[in-house]
């Protein structure tokens, strides 16, 4: 489903990703681990299409299509979802309004009819309960005054709502207490399925106790420096990243 080959990405002329190769099939969950500053968020942004991130070499193929040729909103409509490390506040726009606008924007691009307010509300309510997203949260301005945990839960709610084909979770676990982490992991696990691929980015092994990946890639200085099964996470937990990072200077 996602095929990244020899990807080089520059930001403001500075090369951040330096020849990254990664392949994820439908139905799989892969994890990306790596120290701070290794380029994990950069990878998530280039997949979602953030302005200012430039591919200088290599390719990204999503469902057989050149992903870089698609506008960010078109990627969303085609099933790419990024749960962001730092969800953004939009004052004055209620969470519910945002969800409705986003959902219908995606539907319109796919040639599907808009859902009315009642239809969206039903859908949102059905998903919100499991993630403990309250009605009151839905009435507040998007992410404004939300706690860290509330923000992350709202990201996962959006994932559940949009039912993406490729979900990228950028450090969704950071700043979560153990209960919130469980909720989020449960939300993610319910969405696992044969037609869906997930890329779970995390700094810590802890999340992978709850979301068990099919494969783990270690990112350091813009390149994959190690790969393995779920047991790799435990090894990293014990030994740290340093010995891997040294090799890629």
């Amino acid at each position: 489903m996602l095929d990244i080959r020899n990807l080089h990405v520059a930001v403001d002329g500075k090369e951040i990703l330096r020849g990254l190769t990664l392949r994820i099939e439908a139905g799989q969950v892969h994890a990306i681990m790596g120290p701070n500053g290794s380029g994990k968020s950069t990878l998530s942004y280039i997949l979602a299409g953030r302005a200012g991130y430039e591919i200088t070499e290599g390719s990204i193929t999503y469902d057989g299509e050149d992903l870089a040729a698609l506008a960010p909103e078109a990627r969303a409509a085609k099933g790419v979802f990024l749960a962001m490390q730092y969800p953004v506040e939009i004052p004055g726009v209620t969470t519910m309004t945002f969800l409705k606008t986003a959902l219908n924007s995606q539907r319109r691009q796919r040639g599907e009819p808009d859902l009315d307010a009642v239809g969206v509300l039903k859908l949102v309510r059905a998903k919100a309960k499991m993630l403990n997203v309250t009605e009151e949260m839905l009435k507040r301005a998007l992410n404004v005054g939300f706690s860290g945990g509330e923000k992350k839960r709202l990201e996962i709610l959006q994932m559940a709502l949009f039912e993406p084909r490729l979900a990228i979770l950028d450090e969704t676990d950071s700043g979560l207490d153990i209960d919130a982490l469980r909720l989020v992991a449960e939300g993610v696990n319910t969405l696992r399925g044969p037609s869906r691929a997930m890329l779970v980015i995390t700094h810590y092994q802890r999340l992978l106790d709850y979301i068990v990946p099919d494969r783990i890639h270690v990112l350091a200085r813009g390149r994959i420096v190690a790969e393995g099964g779920k047991e790799l996470a435990l090894e990293l937990e014990a030994r740290g990243y340093d010995h891997l990072v040294k090799d890629v200077a």
Binding site: R50, G52, A76, M84, V88, I90, G92, V93, A102, S105
Partner: protein, 483 residues
Amino acid sequence: MSIAAETKAHVAEIGEKYKYGFVTDIEMERAPKGLSEDTVRYISAKKGEPDWMLEWRLGAFRRWLSMKEPDWARVQYPKIDYQDAYYYAAPKNTPKKQSLDEVDPKLLETYKKLGIPLHEQMALAGVAVDAVFDSVSVATTFKEKLNEAGVIFCPISEAIRDYPDLVKKYLGTVVPVTDNYFATLNSAVFSDGTFVFVPKGVRCPMELSTYFRINASETGQFERTLIIADEGSYVSYLEGCTAPKRDENQLHAAVVELVALDDAEIKYSTVQNWYPGDENGLGGIFNFVTKRGDCRGRKSKISWTQVETGSAITWKYPSCILRGDGSVGEFYSIAIANNFQQADTGTKMIHLGANTRSRIISKGISAGRAQNTYRGLVSVYGKAKNARNYTQCDSLLIGGDCGAHTVPYIESRNPTARIEHEATTSKIAEDQLFYCLARGIPQDEAVSLIVNGFCKEVLQQLPMEFAVEAQKLVGISLEGSVG
């Protein structure tokens, strides 16, 4: 890379998007070009006005000749040649319509294009509409229902004939003939406008609304509106404005006077979308408007809400004179300036009475190469003990070539007064835009969403029926502003 670096001056053709830019092909009757006592007499005669009105106009005209165009606003425009314009234009044979069926179908077609359903739709919406096309008022709906309630809602030209005592008593008492250059000009040549009188204790049974339309070329529009709310009454009034696309600049100099007596309340809303000019700054309406409300009675209230998206130049300060003890003045404003638009707008809150309160919420949005200035005066007089003002003034910038300016004037001559002023300036953040895009919301819609969120407090003040339209307008007027 920041969005600012990427944002260029707006190149998309907003002119193409100005959906009100059509011209209605209709036979016009005009005054001879230019401005003189004869022009004033011509207009007065066309309106069949009594002598006192003509004298009033002539007095204003003579005064105007001795006045100077103000130059303190932060707007720049070529010198206006007042002799090179028409001061009266009317669709031929339209005045004096008893019902809509008599109105030229082309006119009705125009209103339909403008999205103003004069017929059944309005009945459903329960809105009474007075429509001013160039210089004359064409049709007034719902007269009967309003008559039952005792509410007078008619073209001001009609009020001058039918209710001379009311007009004489109030006209020019809020905005004196000598007030300022543009108001004085208006007093001399105003062609039509709306008159509203709500009698004692009456809550006006529906929203009142006037649509102003400039159609003829080289024609100035000078409408005059006078609204009087007698003791304990309430009225909500909305005006909408549009004009065709033309390469020339056209002058619009309106005067609006509001009078609220004891315990009365007037809510006045404006959705102003005069043609703003094209993306290179060619054409557009010069909007020099004097709007003022007099809270003459105790515990009266006047509330201005404006959504200003059009015009090449906006010069406008809807104000409140808080004369009655315990009276309340409010000003809620959204001013959007894109491309080469220049807006200098704000309010004056004049606290004369004791325990008077005022509230100012201003949201200025600048994009392209536009300049947007908030200019506001809060003045507390010696007798206004315990006067309160709260001002919040927020500016939003889209791109790096535009400007936002805040010019507050605060004067207090009473030590018990409390005046609060808050101001912020922000940019549409790149991360906000990206967040929306990544969730599937296209750029223009994302800008619209973010800006509508920014303006929410003001949009909430609009009558329900118009809030949705106003939200759309906010989006449309900023289309393509992020490159």
